[in-house]
Subunit: 138 residues, 2 copies
Amino acid sequence: MSDLLERLRGRGWRMTAQRRVVAEVLDGEHVHLTADEVHARAVAKLPEISRATVYNTLGELVSLGEVLEVTTDKRAKRYDPNAHRPHHHLVCAHCGAIRDVHPTGNPLADLPSSERFGFTVSDVEVTYRGLCPDCAAA
Amino acid sequence: MSDLLERLRGRGWRMTAQRRVVAEVLDGEHVHLTADEVHARAVAKLPEISRATVYNTLGELVSLGEVLEVTTDKRAKRYDPNAHRPHHHLVCAHCGAIRDVHPTGNPLADLPSSERFGFTVSDVEVTYRGLCPDCAAA
DNA sequence: GACTTGACTTAGACATTGTCCAATGTAGGA
DNA sequence: TCCTACATTGGACAATGTCTAAGTCAAGTC
Ligand SMILES: [Mn+2]
Ligand SMILES: [Mn+2]
Ligand SMILES: [Zn+2]
Ligand SMILES: [Zn+2]
């Protein structure tokens, strides 16, 4: 995460306690927190941090390409710090657990030009759904 | 759509003016309306229809498998009457236009078991993103 | 170290999307 | 025609997200 903080400093960011805390929360593998979850964890480290600052900071990180927005369910957006390695997601339909996955092949190649309707297609998101081991056992 | 109304009658649905109007609105190809858009179009045909009824009816149609929920953007859910032909979506990143597409191949086969984390994977959603012809020209 | 300034943070109002409920209405069978 | 279980309604409430005015502070300058 200090990598991230360094990059942000290089981009002219003022290093505030709030931004440091948000960056700390957004660290690790398979991390896909909602804004309110980020806020709750940030408050544990810095009680006076506001919801508005969390939303602002997340939005800025997304604009900078340091964090991805993921919408695996129809509720809140989730924020994914694993922005520098392209990947897709595997979601448990029962408990919502999310794993990063790396399918083989290139789904873009599977969309023939006759199915492109003249669009310039630049990106593809794949969401696999199923049951995680815990939920399948229950 | 009278097909749909027949199926619903067969399932024991009471045929109300409200349900008929929602079914009428949800007709056609490449239709992906939000609940409020459905409501606005329904009101044009039946001014006294309430938001609650539109939400109730859409929820029931989804439960019955007659309509799909689609979340191509991070805003409102969209309702897709094309539930009987599996397909994916192509979305314009600029104006939000949505087309139904039918990629070749089977993306499920592209997820090796080493990338399944013990999940029972049953479904996959693919969303292609790019620019529609109009937005690319502008 | 003190000063300055524009970027940053905050609380809370407001907006959008969706859910829930008690009261009222009605489709369809008896 | 009557009955009643099912359906609809309006509005309160909830969850998520946006915006703004006022106060705060990081970091450059002296
Ligand atoms: Mn991820
Ligand atoms: Mn569709
Ligand atoms: Zn699970
Ligand atoms: Zn477009």
